[in-house]
């Protein structure tokens, strides 16, 4: 048999029809739904008199719009409220399982999928959200779709898809101490550009990836879309299986053992080839900070804001000029001298328990700089509860952080968590686009550790030189 890549194995297994001269029809195993990209899809179904084909394979929650302050208070924004009520009604009308605002399982859709064991190796997973690529960390083929496609999947449990190309991103060696998965993916995007993987599905391989926990792998796959990729994926291994064991919706007992035996086949065969290959020396990666308005505009913490003149093409020079103007930065300024006003620790990239443990470890024993307003927004209610049980919430609160309810929050600032014009924010989220966190707001993407350290110092600082005051804690131990 012809050797296949991980992607090809999952793809081939899910193509149910390949009509002549048309895209493949791909079966979808799991469809995640949230309040922002679904109302028009349900409306479309109603107009056409169609039903949801597999409500049992569809799961909904609310995350983008939700307030992160006290949940017992009424929602003040009437349009947000309407959108949330619309989702609740749609789920009820069409028989879809729904984790409502007051549910203990509520959270960012890409945090709760894995946490609940809904995300499993070999599945095809879609959601009306570009960061669906997160779920690829489990060896699933997971990608974001638009609202018309949400409607398509609701109606047919299938999608029409042209077969993407494959790219291997190989991280050789190990990440140095203080350098995280977030730095690895930011370094990749800085290297290949925000359109570097357009049209491709990335498979991440190499020693650095193999040694990562599931949560770190999710951070990597999450930001695949920021390199333009259709999806990102990592072959499942013992780390994956251990993580999934005993998750609420994961198979149990003998069924789990059988599933694992099948999932072990989900790896790229010896001799299989990718359409493109990129290699990165993980041991050479330094903590990253972005300086511009696109995730590819990043550099090492030890470096300075670049001079637009140093870029190769006219388009790049112009983009850099516009970005620096928006960001209010002067070329040549050392990254460590950039002062910040706000810190946001959260988003589907970095709001899981390990992220919070890592940030708390940095913060413990310190106080947030007087001019900085800092907040932690856990990715889900379960993460929040666990962080409170482990004492992490107390550490953040004692240091002067705000401790919030779960949701997307200031990652896209659809709810009241918004940057003011000109405010500069160290953010653990995934996008530093103009206005993303609030009109005129300036976003620098960093790891949770780097964000925590910036909150304390009031400016960016090299986490590798951090003096830890707290007691030793296990960062990666799973629950």
């Amino acid at each position: 048999m012809k050797p296949k890549t991980l992607f090809e194995k999952i793809w081939d297994r899910h193509v149910i029809d390949q009509p002549e001269g048309k895209p493949a029809i791909l079966y979808i195993d799991l469809h995640l739904v949230h309040e922002v990209t679904s109302p028009q899809a349900f409306e479309g179904l109603r107009l056409a008199g169609r039903k949801v084909r597999r409500p049992d394979l569809t799961i909904a929650t609310m995350d983008h719009n939700v307030p992160t302050t006290n949940r017992s208070l009424p929602i003040t924004d009437p349009i947000s409220k309407k959108q949330m009520e619309t989702l609740a009604k749609n789920c009820k009308d069409f028989g879809i399982r729904f984790f409502d605002l007051d549910s203990p399982q509520q959270g960012i859709v890409h945090v709760i999928g894995p946490e609940l064991g809904l995300t499993l190796p070999g599945k095809t997973i879609v959601c009306g959200d570009s960061h669906t690529s997160t779920h690829g960390a489990f060896g699933a083929l997971a990608f974001g779709i638009g609202t018309s496609e949400v409607e398509h999947v609701l109606a047919t449990q299938c999608l029409q898809q042209a077969k993407p190309k494959t790219m291997e991103v190989h991280f050789k060696g190990r990440l140095p101490k203080g350098v995280t998965a977030k730095d690895a993916i930011l370094a990749l995007i800085a290297k290949i550009g925000t359109a570097g993987a357009t049209g491709y599905v990335i498979e991440y391989t190499g020693e650095a990836i193999e040694h990562m926990s599931m949560e770190e792998r999710m951070t990597i796959c999450n930001m695949s879309i920021e390199a333009g990729a259709r999806a990102g994926m990592i072959a499942p291994d013992e780390t994956t299986f251990q993580y999934l064991k005993n998750r609420p919706f994961a198979p149990k007992g003998e069924e789990f053992e059988r599933a694992v035996r099948e999932w072990k086949e989900l790896r790229t065969d010896e001799g299989a080839t990718y359409d493109h290959r990129v290699e990165i020396d993980a041991s050479q990666i330094a903590p990253q900070v972005t300086w511009g308005t696109s995730p590819g505009m990043g550099t090492d913490i030890t470096k300075s804001v670049p001079d637009p003149a140093s870029f190769a093409t006219e388009t790049e020079r112009k983009s850099a000029e516009l970005a620096l103007e928006y960001m209010g930065l002067v070329p040549g300024t050392p990254m460590t001298e950039i002062k910040i006003d706000r810190v946001f620790i959260g988003s589907c990239t970095n709001s899981r328990i390990e992220d919070l443990r890592a940030a708390a470890k940095v913060v413990e024993g310190y106080q947030v700089a007087p001019h900085v307003k800092a907040m932690v927004v856990p990715g889900s209610q379960q993460v929040k509860k666990q962080a409170e049980q482990e004492g992490l919430a107390d550490i953040f609160i004692a240091a002067g952080f705000e401790w919030r309810e779960s949701g997307c929050s200031m990652c896209l600032a659809m709810n009241p968590d918004v940057l003011q014009p000109g405010e500069r924010c160290a953010s653990t989220s995934n996008r530093n686009f103009e206005g993303r966190q609030g009109r005129g707001g300036r976003t620098h993407l960093v790891s949770p550790e780097m964000a925590a350290a910036a909150a304390i110092k009031g400016h960016f600082t090299d986490i590798r030189e951090w003096k830890y005051l707290g007691k030793e804690r296990e960062t990666h131990a799973t629950t």
Partner: protein
């Protein structure tokens, strides 16, 4: 979906690379549950100042581009979020064609679902069009999806490539859900063999 065969219109040049969907339609407008009425919010933060007054330096506010139906842009147009509100707002504003050297995947796909045509030309060709669109008089271009070309009255003519299936769907305004449902039998058959451990029930 409204079919598209030929479109003649004024070209608006938007001279920026990596225009993301957050810029096309900022998040505060994603709370609406309707599919229509998004045109007024298109490029909101660029089009209007913080008090809501039009910024005269932004292209969409310049008189000569009024009524334009063809948007000219740079590399990686439509990157970022999957929000289909981006094509909805462009379409509602009046754009039916977007020309750029490259597009982000999800955005590219979303365009076709809404009867809009994203056209990839080479950077050199796009440069030429920018030069013309910058002149004092409005610059008109015709896009012909039947022969896969764009041309003007001055003898310029470029051909572009496009997936045949997407082209047919757009030419005829086809509903792709109905097309997939033609494979209903195969879907049902496939579902009989779904792994039992993928069934979602609290276990």
């Amino acid at each position: 979906m409204q079919p598209l065969r030929q479109e003649t219109g004024i070209v608006t040049p938007l001279d920026r690379a990596n225009v993301d969907t957050d810029a096309i339609i900022p998040k505060q407008f994603l709370k609406r549950i309707e599919r229509s009425g998004f045109g007024q919010f298109l490029f909101y933060d660029w089009r209007f100042d913080s008090k809501g007054n039009p910024d005269p330096s932004f292209v969409l506010n310049q008189k000569k581009y009024e009524g334009s139906s063809i948007l000219l842009a740079r590399e990686n147009f439509g990157c970022g979020s999957s929000r289909e509100h981006a094509p909805w707002s462009l379409l509602d504003y009046g754009f039916r064609v977007i020309i750029a050297p490259s597009f982000a995947d999800i955005f590219y796909n979303n365009c076709f679902k809404n009867g809009m045509l994203p056209i990839r030309l080479t950077s050199e060709q796009v440069d030429q069009l920018f030069q013309k669109a910058y002149r004092d008089q409005p610059y008109q271009l015709t896009v012909d999806l039947v022969e896969k070309s764009v041309y003007d009255q001055e003898g310029l003519k470029f051909f572009f490539e496009i997936d045949e299936y997407r082209r047919t769907c757009l030419l005829e305004g086809l509903d792709d859900i109905a097309i997939t449902l033609q494979s209903e039998e195969k879907i049902a058959k496939y579902e009989e063999k779904l792994p039992d451990y993928y069934a979602i029930a609290a276990k």
